[in-house]
């Protein structure tokens, strides 16, 4: 049945819309967007005036852990977390077991996604077989089976030569190479950002330069090859400078930042209780790095906000700081953090936030969506920017609870999520018992 949203505040930067519109959804697509549309048999939905309709948000950096690490997350639980967090689509990294380096694994992930039937899932294939950094994967076959990008995420693309060849080869299929930039020798066995905090806590450090030397390498190679490099989870101010310079030279480089890297800095560790939920890679950096990420979000150097949703089982995180795995879950905390810390804090407008989470994300990985223009898929996120939200890890849809934000009170939530015109998530606490 057709659905008519009456007088809803629509923010659709790609279509140049920011104001009150009627939005008609029919057969899973946006049929019309205009003022004063007649109901014509469509079910009419009226939302509170403080709510905002946006194109379905897309998280281009998640770890769904399936196949192989289903104790941490599955495609079903990960996509449930996604829609609960307002994301209608996710792109999942290939560091599963086995690595997503061939069509068979890609197809398995897509089958699980179809079974779950929640968020859209865009698999990211590996750059190299087994992500070992030696031989290229069959990138054409990965593309044909549904991969949207290639990455050896979790590990950096090992050598400059492999990066060069990957950029050249992937450009035939118009796919970006997404790189987890980190020089392994500079990282060593580091577990926290190298700085005053790690020095005081006696934690082995990872300098910001471990990231930026590889960002510089990749930008140089993107310039050489004309390929598209996307810098994953950028964290260091030196990296931001490199991306800014690269963009100014016309290099095809895009970049993303995670909410935790613009909300937290390494001083969060200084409480000294060695909470492993503050251990992630890249590590929480200094306040000057955090400030640089915010500048990048403002000036366009950063194209996308992505969560690097990295579920780990509680038993794995209950280890010494040195031994606990890196990473935190992000899908169900991203929106409240973004709205609270970026929009309400006056850093960027809500429209700019939507741009970072929807059209830009779609553009980087070259997928449909990111807009609610007529004819686009009816992937819709309904935000409640003024809702008071308390992060409650125990109620996450994700299988894992590894978050440093548990208990945080934030302003800004997700009221509902629609994928292909179908309601896949309703937040009763925000929406009340309203019918959708």
């Amino acid at each position: 049945m057709a659905l008519l949203f009456k007088s809803v505040h629509l923010i659709d930067p790609a279509a140049g819309r920011n104001g009150e519109f009627d939005v008609l959804v029919e057969d899973g697509r946006i049929a019309r967007v205009d003022k004063n549309l007649p109901a014509d048999g469509a079910r009419v939905v009226e939302l509170p005036r403080s709510f905002v309709m946006t194109p379905g948000l897309i998280d281009i950096h998640v770890h769904l852990r399936e196949p192989g690490q289903e104790h941490k997350e599955t495609v079903a639980t990960g996509t449930a977390a996604a829609v609960a967090g307002g994301f209608t689509a996710v792109a999942c990294m290939p560091n599963t077991e086995p690595v997503n380096d061939c069509a068979a694994v890609t197809e398995l992930i897509l089958k699980r996604a179809a079974d779950a039937n929640l968020a859209r899932v865009y698999p990211i294939g590996a750059v190299s077989m087994g992500s070992k950094g030696e031989a290229l994967t069959e990138i054409g076959d990965l593309r044909a089976s549904g991969c949207v990008a290639i990455s050896d995420d979790g590990r950096p693309v090992k050598t400059a030569l492999l990066m060069r060849r990957a950029l050249e080869y992937a450009s035939m299929f118009k796919m970006p190479v997404i790189d987890h930039c980190e020089d392994p020798s500079l990282k060593g066995d580091g577990v926290a950002h190298e700085g005053a905090t790690s020095g005081l806590l006696g934690l082995r450090g990872i300098p910001g330069a471990a990231e930026s030397v590889m960002v510089e390498r990749d930008i140089t190679l993107a310039e050489l090859t004309g390929g598209h490099v996307h810098i994953a989870h950028m964290s260091a101010r030196q990296s931001l400078r490199a991306v800014r310079d690269g963009k100014a030279r016309g290099v095809k480089v895009t970049s993303e930042v995670t909410p935790h890297h613009f909300v937290l800095a390494d001083e969060a560790l200084a409480t000294g209780d060695y909470d492993t939920n503050f251990k992630m890679n890249p590590p929480l950096r200094e306040t000057s790095d955090r400030a640089a990420m915010i500048d990048g979000l403002r000036d366009g150097t950063i194209d996308v906000i992505a969560t690097d949703h990295a579920p780990h089982h509680a038993d794995e995180k209950a280890l010494e700081f040195d031994h606990a795995p890196f990473g935190i879950v992000g899908l169900e905390t991203a929106l409240p953090l973004c709205i609270d810390r970026l929009v309400h804090a006056g850093v960027i407008s809500l429209a700019r936030l939507v741009e970072l989470l929807a059209p830009n994300a779609a553009r980087v990985i070259g997928v449909e969506g990111g807009t609610l223009a007529e004819g686009a898929p009816a992937d819709i996120t309904i935000l409640a920017p003024d809702a008071e939200v308390v992060v409650d890890a125990a109620s996450f849809r994700s299988k894992s609870r590894n978050t440093p934000f548990d208990g945080w009170k934030l302003t800004g939530g997700v009221a509902a999520t629609l994928v292909g015109g179908r309601v896949v998530h309703v937040n009763d606490a925000i929406l009340g018992r309203r019918d959708l």
């Binding site: 005053a196 790690s198 060695y274």
Partner: protein, 314 residues
């Protein structure tokens, strides 16, 4: 100066958590405890009926023996476990290790661990008092306390004392605890080591940093040499023992720049001919064996302050 009569925390995880009055309280108590070691029967009933677990997840000889002796002199029931590597090596989480020990109702857990923060994580779970006997590259609070006791005995004060700490600074928990304690007590600390072994942000703790040994020693009242592990000697930290000794090894000749009555300290175990020449280690400046003796007294004081009962102390 002493106004504190008890410690605020029931754990001793690091010097970080101690204020100057608490440090003074521990040192004054340690001075009183030294007397016990001079008696023919070196034992008081202070911790009778108390159980102390010594958990050494990293090999240790002197610290473990020093704690055990302190516990025995206070009449505690003690038992120990030494295991190389972390709990993860055994396939057990740190939290499970903590709960297992907790189930045996210890009063005090003395813990050494190769990972920074492991005692802090245990302390969050256990009801027992946790004493950090060295965690990774983080802190070794009883070492800093025994060093301070030794300085006070020899110099009569900490305030205004010029202390040079020399060696592998970045990997040293002894450095961190000493810097925190000494700056808190008003000493002037200079940290000296090769540029590859300087901890980031150390200046923020109020110490002067130099890579010149002569500069560090100049006018020093105390020179504390830190151990440099052999595995760091041939590789990307340092090129060779020979060059290290030439640049950073403490010799009698180099000590001439120090204050006339300078004392030389070392937390042990020493690498003779690497960071310290034998002529210095065995020379008139050396208080290295005093440090060992004071270690027992300081650990008795800490155990007493954390686990002692008012009526039990003689």
């Amino acid at each position: 100066m002493t106004t504190a009569t008890t410690l605020r925390s029931r754990h001793l995880l690091g010097i970080t958590e101690l204020d100057p009055e608490e440090i003074d309280l521990i040192l004054q108590t340690a001075l009183a405890m030294k007397e016990v070691g001079t008696r023919p029967i070196k034992k008081v009933p202070t911790l009778r009926g108390r159980t102390v677990f010594n958990l050494f997840f990293e090999p240790s000889t002197r610290t473990r023996m020093s704690f055990e002796l302190a516990e025995k002199r206070l009449s505690a029931d003690t038992l120990g476990m030494t295991t190389a590597g972390s709990s993860v090596v055994k396939g057990e989480t740190l939290a499970d290790t903590a709960r297992t020990i907790e189930a045996m109702s210890p009063d005090v857990i003395v813990m050494r661990h190769a990972s920074s923060g492991a005692p802090h994580q245990i302390a969050k779970i256990c009801r027992a008092s946790v004493i950090n006997a060295g965690d990774g590259m983080h802190e070794h609070p009883t070492q800093a306390l025994l060093d301070a006791l030794t300085m006070i005995e020899r110099k009569g004060r900490l305030k205004g004392l010029r202390v040079a700490i020399v060696g592998d600074l970045v990997h040293s928990r002894v450095l961190r605890s000493n810097v925190l304690l000494l700056t808190r007590m008003g000493a002037e600390v200079c940290a000296c080591g090769p540029a590859t072994l300087l901890p980031p942000g150390i200046e923020s703790l109020g110490v002067r940093v130099t890579t010149s040994l002569d500069d560090a020693i100049d006018g020093a009242d105390v020179v504390m040499m830190l151990r440099v592990q052999h595995e760091r000697m041939h590789g990307l930290f340092l090129p060779s023992v020979r060059e290290y000794f030439a640049l950073f090894g403490l010799t009698a000749a180099r000590l001439e720049r120090a204050a006339k009555d300078v004392i030389v300290m070392h937390p042990g175990p020493m690498n003779r001919g690497v960071e310290i020449a034998s002529e210095v280690a065995d020379g008139p400046w050396s208080v290295i064996l005093d440090q060992v003796a004071n270690g027992v007294a300081v650990r008795m004081a800490v155990l007493y302050l954390l686990a002692g009962t008012d009526g039990g102390h003689e």
